[in-house]
Amino acid sequence: MKLKILELFGFLVFAGLLVPLKASSQPADQAAILHVLNRLAYGPRPGDIEHIMQIGLERYIDEQLHPDGMAMPDALTQRLAALSQGEMTQADLITTYRRVIKAAMEDGTGGAPGGGLAIRNALYRKMAIHFGELRLVRAIESPRQLEEVMDEFWFNHFNVVAGKGLDHVLIADYEREAIRPYVLGKFRDLLGATSKHPAMLFYLDNWLSAAPSADARPRIAGTKTEISGLNENYARELMELHTLGADGGYSQEDVTALARMLTGWSFDPRFAGTGSAFRFVPRLHDFGDKVWLGRAVPVKGEAEGEWALDVLAAHPSTAHHIAFKLAQYFVADDPPAALVDRLTQQFLTTDGDIRAVLSMLFASPEFRDPANYGSKFKTPYRFVVSAVRAAAVDVKNVRPLLATMTRLGMPLYGCQSPDGYKNTADAWLNPDALAQRISFATALGLGRIPLGKLVDDDLANDPYAPAAAAANPSSEGAANGVYPPPDFQALLATLGGQITDRARSRIASAEPSTLRAALVLGGPDFMRQ
């Protein structure tokens, strides 16, 4: 038996007795409810604990696993509709990008206002804020919290970075088309959708990859890049990161073979129309014989890649890799091996049905084990989102939140490498990080962050630069768009037993009293997940 050493939790204190859950007719205990809210959701909003006590924990979990059955509040639906107004098609996004880049390359002004470079930079900033709003409004407000938590998980797993070329404009389209529809569905569908989306094909260079014998075109329209041979980048990461895992049982030869199988999986930069710009380009495809993972590959053009995805999606190493990551994300930084094994089997027997795997995970004794309550350390993303949820702020200006995530080392859509962000304490906990979080919590608790300010067309500020108000709460410039400070009593009621009795009494007696809300959101108990 693997003995989990948690000497740091020798005197873990949570309010209430810890009764293992059996039937939903038993009163659900608060500690278990908080645990579920901190794992399946981004922490409690006001009233969440009471709501779950009323409907029962099993029903809550079941609802979250079937989000389509949950009504979205009208206000949220309207807000999302307003945000999506004027959303460009994939074709328009690519065309706009190419046009803007061409003008930027020809800009002789060196970045003067109105010049090509300035316009390009303004486009990038506008997109960054737009993407941030689309994601954060949902993460904060949506009742379908598990869907949001899984959207984050899968985006991270199939990471693309906003900062690379064409992906500056494609992030929202990628998330909407290739991630969101499948987050609780079949893994094979996620694999298929991401492998064909121009954002991924661009990010990992597969759109340029060609058989060595292919008709070499001098360049892809709008770029200076030649196509005259194989590029292994996507094939490698598809096996190493998306499916089998680094030790999943493949060789360098397999990387090369898979890259050859995927030649031709590209997109048409000149596509004009609705729908996807994905194109299988036969001219680029390597129709030669290949051997991959010990199998002779029938020569079939585009179908070779589809077959590869079928094989990868059903591979035991993939099942184990995904099971491990899910167990780490939901249970513990060092996930219990027995749980990972059972989830692996579940993945295989259900053909990669994510809902079925999660259903088993949430019902497992490991997930329900009180020793795992509060055992994770919130990532910067989760810390910021959970703080805003707990404080029930109606966020209209997401820029300070984006800036805080950047300052904490986790810029939204900004992970440069395809392996995505980690979610372990080792990765994120260090003294400076703690101080930065306290800084944010203090600004939020003092009501100094202009979260209520509507984002206007003034794009003079870099959304990724630290917001002055958040960094220095004594600044006077935070007058507009600032809400009254959150009430610390309301925060304590929202968070229930997450804030321990010892902390509560210190907070309630802290001076000046204006700091109390900050102490709730910046204190050690709120750092725990």
Binding site: R236, N430, I438
Partner: protein, 416 residues
Amino acid sequence: MNRRQFLRGVSAAGAGTISLGPNSWAKALATDTATTRRLIVVFLRGAVDGLNLVVPYREANYYRLRPRIAIAQPGDDDGAIDLDGQFGLHPALTPLLPFWRQGSLAFVHAAGSPDPTRSHFDGQDNIESGTPGNKATRDGWLNRLEGALPGDPALRAAPTRAISIGAVVPRVFLGSNRVTTIASGATALRPSVLDRPAVNEAFASIYHDDVRFGGAFKEFVAARGDVMTALEDPEMREANNGAPPSYAFAGDAVRLATLMRLDPRVQLGFLAVSGWDTHANQGGAKGQLANLLTPFAGGMAALAENLGPVYQDTAIVVISEFGRTVAQNGNGGTDHGHGNVMWLMGGNVAGGKVHGEWGGLDDGALHDGRDVPVTTDYRTILAQVCERHLLLPDTKLSEVFPAMPEQLAPVRVIKG
């Protein structure tokens, strides 16, 4: 020992530590040679293309396999800058030439990790853990080194002894010995809310006995005092104003170097630069890689310059997880390879030389028929830096690098 145990340990040790500031140690250090020696590690994440940095311009295969991205011969337009008649420097690295000529810059070619992985993540892990091929290692060699180095014990417990620039503690610095992180960019100098006494006291009261996070909180406060004292020094302000804001590395390098110069207790430093994974459209003397190298070279020169007199006692090591393919790929870029170039700079470095066992780039000499082989294990270079420069006792080397390989070829990168 894992990070949680580390934090608990620090929480116990940190209580009651009074920070006396850097100047009070100056006298003690004047007589303690071991602790005046410093090390800075710069990690180029993404597998930088070493063949285009230190160019083997006499190799026919270099030009045959890189028709569009090779650097031309010395003397040609945009040609490499000749170093020693066999290798040349990428023209973008011109700012480093004075150090080469003065004899304080050295390279080791065909160096790297013996593990054949071409995965960035495993590759970086191999370099940073110090135990290539062994994934069970939880800490990093730079953290183990911190614990193994000799010197005054009180000095060794200084909060600023080990500094990492960036929001996240890198793998190489994970472990039971304390590391102070300083944010990248000029925000490092901004006042923190915790500098205000009322806020500090309020948070201290809820953190001080928290078993999990209390240690990290105390560590921040302890290090903060020292870091801010140094960072508020007028010299530091001046240095910081001079750093180009548009390129993060240069600013961070200047800040780290100035901090080391002003605070004698700062002994180990770490910086990382990403973006070197040039799979497509790499360019040659000009283009994508060159555009990355130009500001990087400026930053490295600024790092050395801002160390001032401390440069003589510092070793700077630049390393990447592995190299890139000798041949260019189908998109004017390169794919993941094996052997790469390590750089060393500093007063004790046997500079003005390209070290290592160079076997040429003929087809038969290539690793897997495609890559530069590894003929010098990176650990043997680091071991020399640790033993000959930092004066790590022989007996302690295995603590830092367990399972060290036998050094196959004598490569002497540290003088004396």
